[in-house]
Symmetry: C2
Subunit: 383 residues, 2 copies
């Protein structure tokens, strides 16, 4: 599974001592070819961490030989020294792997504004390289966890080729991506352009539609590496669908593990005039703190859905809005609909449908409830 499900990849995950508690904190993923095509998407936050600035630059070649990932520190807002540290990390990996530093992406996650302990990290890269294995995918996925309670991996594919991946992320999840590091690998024989197209199409409808707490990170990175080791070139549609499936699965795992969450909320906007309208409305609902508290309390408070819709610029008439919660149309034509006592909210998954009666476009945004545990987790210590 994970990043070593596809042929041509090795990986490792170790405890380099970056985290003071001794947990795994350094992962290495290596593409052994024959191809080394790669594509990436990065945070839309204008305050970008050093590893994002580095990896964006590296990706311009469309080639990656390896990815170094660390938890225990985001290396964001760390100035020129932070960028030097990222560069040194890539140089170290290049040295031990016998590749060029310009073929090595770097990803970091953890507290912003703190320099990484390079005296631990650099030797760790050597240690990880010595442990690279075709079975190292799980260990790599474990090493990138921060507040994640579980590691996240996924796999898809058919007819002799595979797409696999790993993700970390549990907070700061928001469109334009999240504090989310994702590495996807495939042994399909495809060029950079195809990878890039499939990756952008997939993230647009998966990670970009996952919104845990409306907070956009400085470090979000999604990489897709192709080894070509299967010798198979799938059709674009088959490949894009496999990438979408893996991204969708990983995105859902991120929401399920969101900090403090007790409910997974599927916000489905239907009958919108445009897909952009549907996404805007879905995000507005998904970000409404009052609604997220109500869902936590198992209260089908559709008034908070309507007030969230009302803050958008989407095309709709207030008296034509309908809202269903877990299949019960509690709001019809902008007013009281079916009996709210019919809504069964005992289960973890909650399904909200917002019908704008304005067209035939649709979009689904996933979010989670807002809980006292979220507050506790994000106030009790720096992260």
């Amino acid at each position: 599974m994970s990043v070593t499900a596809a042929k041509g990849f090795t990986a490792a995950g170790i405890a380099a001592g970056i985290k003071e508690n001794g947990n795994p904190d350094l992962a290495l993923v290596v593409n052994n070819g024959p191809r080394r095509a790669a594509a990436g998407v990065f945070t839309a936050n204008r305050v970008k961490a050093a590893p994002v600035l580095w990896s964006e630059q590296v990706l311009k070649s469309g080639q990656l030989a390896a990815v170094v990932l660390n938890s225990g520190g985001a290396n964001a807002c760390t100035g020129p020294k932070g960028f030097q540290d990222t560069h040194a990390t890539a140089e170290k990996a290049a040295e031990v792997l016998g590749v060029g530093a310009g073929e090595v992406a770097v990803c970091s996650t953890g507290l912003i504004g703190v320099l990484l302990p390079m005296d631990k990290l650099l030797p760790g890269v050597g240690t990880a390289a010595a442990q690279l294995s075709e079975h190292g995918g799980e260990k790599a996925a474990l090493a990138i966890k921060t507040t994640d309670t579980v590691h996240k991996t996924s796999v898809a594919g058919k007819d002799g080729w595979t797409v696999g991946g790993m993700a970390k992320g549990a907070g700061m999840l928001a469109p334009g991506l999240a504090t989310m590091l994702v590495v996807l690998t495939t042994d399909a024989d495809l060029d950079t352009e195809t990878l890039d197209k499939a990756l952008r199409a997939a993230t647009k409808v998966t990670f970009d539609r996952v919104d845990s707490d409306g907070c956009m990170s400085t470090n979000d990175t999604v990489l897709l590496l192709a080894s070509g080791a299967s010798g198979v070139t799938p059709t674009y549609d088959d490949f894009a669908e496999a990438v979408r499936q893996v991204c969708d699965d990983l995105g859902r795992q991120l929401i399920r593990d969101a900090e403090g969450a007790s409910k997974d909320i599927k916000v489905e906007v239907v009958n919108a005039a445009t897909e952009d309208d549907a996404v805007e409305v879905g995000r507005s609902i998904a970000r409404n703190n009052l609604l997220k508290c109500a869902i936590h309390g198992e209260d089908p408070n559709w008034g908070r859905v309507l007030s969230a819709i009302g803050t958008t610029k989407a095309a709709f008439e207030p008296d034509r809005l309908n809202v269903a919660i877990n299949g019960v149309w509690v709001c019809k034509n902008g007013g009281v609909g079916e009996d709210r006592d019919k809504v069964d909210m005992r289960y973890r998954e909650v399904h909200i449908v917002a019908d704008l009666s304005a067209g035939d476009a649709t979009a689904t945004i996933w979010t989670n409830d807002l809980t006292a545990d979220y507050v506790h987790e994000n106030s009790a210590y720096s992260s």
Copy 2:
């Protein structure tokens, strides 16, 4: 004080039985003239409650004889019947006061999507009218409370004229106004146009810059009524400043009473290219759940300030951003600044300064921390 501080006004606040717990829930404010000029601003939410639709219509004449306010039900998303109920409320007030229904504004606050108990509300209007008094301002302010823990009043003025006011609001506070009902009164002798100009100027820099939880209500209303009873016509600047003072004071009281809050946070954006940039950045910081949790935990987590700034379209360079928390410049030039351990966060008020190094415009947004009590208050029951 409150709405009867200015001459020419009477008010009352009673328990009409709209709230099941028997607390005061109906207020009446009457302008006895000689003038009856009035202005109003309303929620920017496109899903507007019936009383907002009614009062916006009524205000087009620039005249108000009275305002009826109820807590215990928002009369929002209640369809044609809800609008009929608002209309009937205005008719009832008009009948008992001997004025036209078109001179009566109506304000409601409470749960969305529930019809008001008109069999309690309409007799209550009669009861309130019988208790109108020049000393009724406090009782009126008490009757409009919902989850407010205290009632909010303020007064300003000079040279023989007065501006007084009352407000309710404790959640759903956000720009474009908040679930916030505010009635301001003055005995200054001024026309509708002057009132409207002063009110819009004041709300733009006060209530519009108070953002408790990013949630915009369906019912927000701010009204300003002038009786002319002092016989004094102040200069526009003096009057506008008094209105601004009362709005600023009431806005600060709303934040201090925000649901579950333990910290009042002043977000001051300086050296922005434009005032719009400063407001956008201030709101982005004020709405960042992760930062609000950190402040609750007395953690001067400036990285979360930077990541919030990074989501805006404002003019800035990441490596020229500076952030001070309670006077300590913890972030300089986009990186680590003074020692964060120097930041003293023991007190209720927290002052964040975000320096964009991009111009000389400034704006201040007030918000509060995000706490487990907020979650509890908004998940334990419908509101």
